[in-house]
């Protein structure tokens, strides 16, 4: 089975990015980046399927030079091949461009299965996998938590979430796109040394032009236009309780007793 996983390099989830003075983007300088967490689950699942079915796993990212770091992690986790579509212009944040670029690579690789994380932690849109499937005219199932492949029958049986604890089992013909839900299988720890060693592995670098994506298309309108970013407003109601631990605990309990909930 030939599997592609789509990987996005996103600002680390542990810190709040600084909003740029333009107010329509974030300040990249000083920001650290990581592999989008749901995409890590997609990589784990791809490797698991390879262990059962044989075949290969290729990870693809679209982004500026730093996005290579995401592919070092993919190599360290055990994928066979990595492709970096270099996009210094919109820096991996243009949804339609990402879809065009990865669709073009997927066509060339002629794969059986394309896995993408359920959503990117930066834009939280959750539409990439679906748009990719539409561009490739492939079936897609979202929020997948289990995959049972039957490659001789050219289909997979998957389980997806429906919310509130409900799930659903479906059959999907191959090739297809699946968007992978958090937790589909445990994330194995990746030692830093493995990532360092992976830096010497060859990453195929491709320009947008080589994929037939022209500068005009680079400027194509993104129908979802951010007009302003802001930090979440405080509801104004959160009372922070300060002091040494015993005092904080005593204060909180006092307030909860006053409120009648303890």
């Amino acid at each position: 089975m030939k599997i592609i996983t789509c990987v996005k390099h996103v600002p680390t989830s542990a810190v709040t990015p600084r909003i740029a003075v333009t107010k329509i983007g974030i300040e990249e300088e000083g920001l650290s980046y990581e592999v989008n967490e749901p995409d890590l689950y997609a990589i784990e699942e791809a490797l698991y399927q390879r262990s059962l079915q044989g075949g290969s796993v290729t990870s693809v990212t679209v982004g500026p030079a730093r996005a290579k770091e995401a592919l070092h992690v993919a190599y360290a986790k055990g994928v066979d091949q990595c492709i970096h579509v270099v996009d210094e212009n919109s820096r991996g944040t243009h949804p339609a461009l990402n879809v065009r670029a990865i669709a073009s690579i997927a066509k060339k690789l002629d794969c059986d299965l394309i896995l993408a994380g359920i959503q990117a932690d930066d834009d939280l849109q959750g539409q990439f996998g679906i748009a990719l499937a539409e561009a490739l005219a492939l079936p897609v199932v979202t929020a997948v938590t289990e995959i049972r492949a039957n490659s001789s029958a050219r289909m997979v049986t998957v389980v997806r979430e429906l919310g509130a604890g409900y799930k659903q089992e479906l059959e999907v013909d191959l090739p297809c796109v699946l968007t992978i839900q958090f937790g589909i299988r445990p994330l194995r720890y990746t030692p830093v040394m493995a990532i360092v060693r992976a830096r010497s592995r060859k990453i195929e670098s491709i320009d947008l032009g080589a994929l037939g994506i022209s500068p005009e298309e680079l400027r194509m309108a993104n129908p979802v236009r951010v007009v302003e970013l802001c930090y979440p407003e405080d509801s104004g109601r959160c009372e922070l309780i300060d002091g040494p631990a015993p005092e904080m605990a005593r204060n909180l309990v006092h307030k909860l007793v006053e409120a009648g909930v303890v």
Binding site: A164, C238, V253
Partner: protein
């Protein structure tokens, strides 16, 4: 219909249906009134005429795609229903709930129509000619105001707690005929019921939840002990289910349970949007977290920033002392 009109894609299934529909009706009524258009509702399912009739109390028209193929969620059949309605009515906006069904259908519709979609919106702001959608980015650490430069406007709306108002309309219910393609590439087999084991956390008056910040499984005893001291139940956020510590019956959030206890204590939970969906309507919310920038503090009433290992044992002792003083028994 005209581009002033609004379609809301309601749900008849299980799970978050009620909260999604209530939010869609509230937003749909507002948006249609602002644009001076009609409000139509699409309902797909099987044997859901009663639900359609109920929804007709809030909208001008209900379109009912009632067929055996829609008995369970079928991405292709449900999409066909929405597509057909959009082709027939040419509305200016199509709104979905931010449920797993809405999250699936809205981008599919947008991709078919070649337009944009704003997902996960928690608010809509309208002025003379623009609708601005408010939505989270960067794991909820930043909020964005976005506009859609394509038509129809497509968005998914976060679930609300909004109770439905008294019905004040008598919309027409019209059946629409939707036949899925003969050679469906995606074939639903069965819906899997939620696991039901142990206590029902949705019924508890006090819920103490642990998240990734708890660190180790052994350390979860702090959450158990605090819940026990308070006479409440322990619960958890998604990462602990993903790590296999608990099943989804213990999980608070969009994928698991929606809880509304009188007291919710979040320990080591940063407050991902999916988690907030499941608890933000709780009576009093307490957040204990090491990171003062964690989004959980935005919804909390009381916050303590610090090390769980220091704070929680103190809290457990203080709660026990307070309850002993008032004569309450811990379980």
């Amino acid at each position: 219909m005209s581009s002033a009109d609004v379609v809301i894609v309601c749900e008849a299934g299980k799970g978050q249906t009620e909260a999604a529909n209530a939010r869609l009706i509230a937003a749909g009524v507002e948006l249609a009134a602002h644009r001076g258009g009609r409000l139509a509702c699409l309902l797909s399912g099987h044997g859901v005429l009663a639900k359609a009739t109920e929804l007709a109390g809030y909208v001008d028209d209900v379109y009912l795609a009632d067929s055996p193929q829609c008995e369970q969620f079928s991405p292709l059949a449900f999409l066909k229903a929405v597509q057909k309605l959009v082709e027939d009515l040419r509305p200016g906006a199509v709104l979905f709930g931010h449920t797993f069904i809405g999250m699936d259908l809205a981008p599919r519709l947008a991709a078919k129509l070649g337009v944009g979609v704003a997902s996960n919106c928690f608010g809509l702001a309208m002025d003379a000619d623009t609708v601005t959608f408010l939505r989270p980015m960067y794991r909820g650490r930043v909020h964005a105001k976005v506009v859609l430069e394509s038509s129809p406007l497509i968005a998914t709306l976060q679930l609300g707690a909004s109770q439905l108002p008294l019905p004040n309309k008598a919309g027409n219910v019209t059946r629409i005929d939707v036949r899925p393609a003969e050679s469906a590439t995606v074939r639903p087999i069965r819906t899997i019921e939620p696991e039901r084991q142990g206590v029902d956390i949705t019924k508890a008056e006090i819920v103490v939840s642990g998240g990734r910040g708890i660190g180790t499984k052994e350390n979860f005893s702090l959450v158990n002990d605090l819940a026990d001291a308070l006479g409440g139940v322990p619960a958890c956020s998604r990462p602990l289910v993903d790590m296999g510590w608990f099943g989804t019956s213990r999980q608070v959030g969009l994928s698991g349970n929606t809880v509304k206890p009188k007291l919710y204590i979040a320990c080591g939970i940063s407050g991902a949007i999916e988690h907030l969906h499941g608890m933000k309507e709780s009576g009093i919310i307490v957040a204990i977290n090491q990171d003062p920038g964690a989004p959980i503090f935005k919804v909390a009433h009381f916050g303590m920033v610090g090390d769980l290992n220091e704070l929680m044992p103190e809290l457990i002792a203080q709660v026990r002392a307070a309850r002993a003083a008032t004569g309450s028994q811990s379980r």
